[in-house]
Amino acid sequence: MNLVIDISEETEKTTVNLSGEIDAYTAPKLKEALLPLTKQNGLIVEINLEDVNYMDSTGLGIFISALKSAKENNSQMKLVNLQDRVFRLFKITGLDAIMDINAAIRGGSE
């Protein structure tokens, strides 16, 4: 299974739409796409995980480094529309408490 990364830039924020699986094979690609965005001062990076049906712990690692990078560079990272299985990982690892996560698949990100 592959991971498709689609980035759309709007005035207020940049949305990253992901679909597929995030694992050890696709994680480097995600890192390459995500880190430069979090390095832009003041940017809101919204990551839509609606079509991500599998993520392993390597994926968590990418989001942690993106979070650290966002903090250092004064940007913001938001995760939206997580499927249950993916959200569970954030919950177990306690990351849901320190990341901006909106898990609800329906009802948008607000």
Binding site: S57, T58, L60, G61, I64, G94
Partner: protein
């Protein structure tokens, strides 16, 4: 080497002559053997073309000059292939060397991180830990206190491969440096968190469950740093429940505090600790739900703890066609008195 070449050269010439005359299958089969011998002795493509040219000129001294030129042309053309072939050979050797070195590193790691299952009166302990690749990114450790208490750590480093596995040694040595007994699970995690945060690559982190069992009170004190939740089996009610624990993974935020919980353990109760290699097992494209993990555990619950974990491991190994995707660690404690 040259002897091989001369011998093969003679055979090659004979085979070629025979084949030109008869075109039979046998000479083709024979030349395949010669060819394998060339590979074994690292003969380059241009050497083989050269061999062919020599054999031809001996068999047909009056070959047309045009044809001879064309063969020399081919010889030149093969030289680049020869270089590529040599490079490939060198890479193969290099790869073999690396593999050997990793195997040495893996066995060193095994020695460094080795832990022995302690004998604790009234407890039956079983543990299995199997790496998916050469080096294990899972870690478990037992510490037997002077007061007969038992410290148990189970951890999973996220970020795969060798660097991840190496960072486990850091955890182990930090833990060894803590004064025995005086450390509560929450204090141990708080300390380790700082060590990991300072020393590990940002995309790497470690989950850990640390428990301390006090036999005199039949109490399990525990804290979790984002680790896959384990299960508690209540023998009286014959129920499994997820062991409640919340806490951030190690290495993300330097000033994290961990909550500590306690659990009363009665006779025949079990505590089941695992890593996500167990819950992330896949059956083809299907994921295993944690209920299924429990079903399998139940199936072997009548066995002693070590046989139980071995059987459960075998079950999931079979399910995944003996190809582990992730390191697999399962630890079971059962109170027997």
């Amino acid at each position: 080497m040259d002897e091989v070449m001369n011998l093969s050269a003679a055979t090659y010439k004979d085979l070629l002559e025979h084949y030109i005359k008869t075109q039979d299958e046998k000479s083709l089969y024979e030349v395949e053997k010669v060819s394998k011998n060339f590979i074994k002795n690292s003969k380059t493509p241009e050497e083989i073309v050269n061999l062919h040219i020599q054999a031809l000129s001996e068999l047909y001294p009056n070959l047309k000059e045009d044809f001879q030129h064309s063969m020399n042309f081919l010889l030149e053309a093969m030289i680049a292939y020869g270089l590529a072939h040599q490079e490939y050979q060198q890479l193969r050797e290099k790869q073999y060397e690396l593999k050997t070195e990793i195997a040495v590193a893996a066995s060193m790691q095994e020695t460094l991180l080795g832990t022995t299952k302690p004998d604790i009166e009234g407890l039956d302990i079983g543990v299995v830990s199997v790496p998916a690749h050469q080096m294990n990114g899972d870690y478990h450790h037992f510490v037997k206190g002077k007061d007969n208490s038992l410290g148990i750590a189970i951890a999973d480093v996220i970020g795969k491969g060798i660097p991840a596995a190496l960072s486990m040694s850091m955890i182990k040595y930090s833990m060894d440096s803590y004064p025995e007994e005086s450390m509560s699970p929450r204090a141990i995690l708080k300390n380790l968190n700082r060590v990991v945060e300072r020393n590990v690559d940002p995309s790497m982190f470690i989950t850990m469950f640390y428990a301390q069992y006090i036999p005199s009170e039949s109490l399990l004190h525990y804290s979790s740093a984002g680790h896959e939740p384990g299960f508690y089996y209540n023998a009286e009610k014959n129920t499994f429940t997820e062991i409640e624990s919340k806490g951030l993974v190690l290495g993300v935020s330097p000033d994290t505090d961990y909550q500590q919980y306690k659990l009363k353990i009665n006779k025949d109760d079990m505590v089941i600790l695992l890593t996500d290699g167990v819950t992330e097992c896949r059956d083809g494209e299907r994921f295993i739900e944690s209920e299924e993990v429990l079903d399998v555990i139940k199936q072997y619950a009548h066995l002693p703890a070590q046989e139980m974990v071995d059987q459960v491991y075998k079950h999931f190994e079979r399910l995944q066609d003996f190809q582990l995707r992730d390191d697999f660690t399962l630890l079971i404690l059962r109170k027997i008195v």
